[in-house]
Assembly symmetry: C2
Homo-oligomer: 132 residues x 2
């Protein structure tokens, strides 16, 4: 495995930007292409690994697991595994993750306003339905 340069300009810049811009702090946590989708799908309630896979058909297993792990490390989701034979793992939003709801919703709302193709898509109804 090639060693990772621990203090690249890239990381340095990220650090700088993060210190002066809260928006970048957010981007560094959920700024990949998949993280917001995963979180969005968890808003409507806890989901098993396999469920998420089915809900997000375009994602590869590697990306799914990788991002689930990172989201865990960033304290945005919980992982609960039952130690039974066909594994049963459930992912759910942490309080911190739940508070991202408004962000995701604001995004979805904007997408609906910005693009006609989401005309039939009600963000609040769609993702918030099982929130209590």
């Amino acid at each position: 495995m090639t060693k990772v340069k621990e203090s690249s300009t890239r990381n340095y810049n990220k650090g700088i930007a993060e210190m002066t811009c809260p928006v970048t702090y957010v981007m560094n946590k959920i700024g990949s292409h998949w993280k917001p989708i995963i979180l969005y799908n968890l808003i409507s309630g806890p989901k098993r690994y396999g469920e998420l896979k089915r809900l997000i058909p375009a994602i590869t297993e590697k990306m799914l697991i990788q991002h689930l792990k990172q989201l865990q490390e960033d304290n945005l989701i919980n992982r609960k595994a039952e130690d039974i034979v066909p594994p049963h793992v459930v992912y759910s939003l942490t309080p911190s993750g739940k508070e991202l709801g408004p962000v995701l919703m604001a995004m979805a709302d904007w997408a609906i306003k910005d693009n006609a193709k989401y005309a039939g898509f009600s963000a609040t109804a769609d993702a918030g339905m099982e929130l209590k």
Copy 2:
């Protein structure tokens, strides 16, 4: 220049995800590390190229211009250039871009809640001050 595979799995997947998830639509537009920062800095009013550069010290010129161009193409910002000798170019949010305000604000709010280091950072006061 090496030819770009016009229909990579990556792009295919992006397309799929975009069709089923409005959040991904947003990420594909403002999902880079720099775009949200640029937009965030434009919320408080139109800015010259050089101003943006000073406001975002960590960004390189290449990245700034590149993203300004893309944001223009995506109809999120306007570019107004006066044809005078020391160039004078002003960037401002389009109506569509302005509607991203709530998204950026929701992000900033979340960052403040999620991380103590932004305790003194008031998102609404900071970015919205010159909005009318």
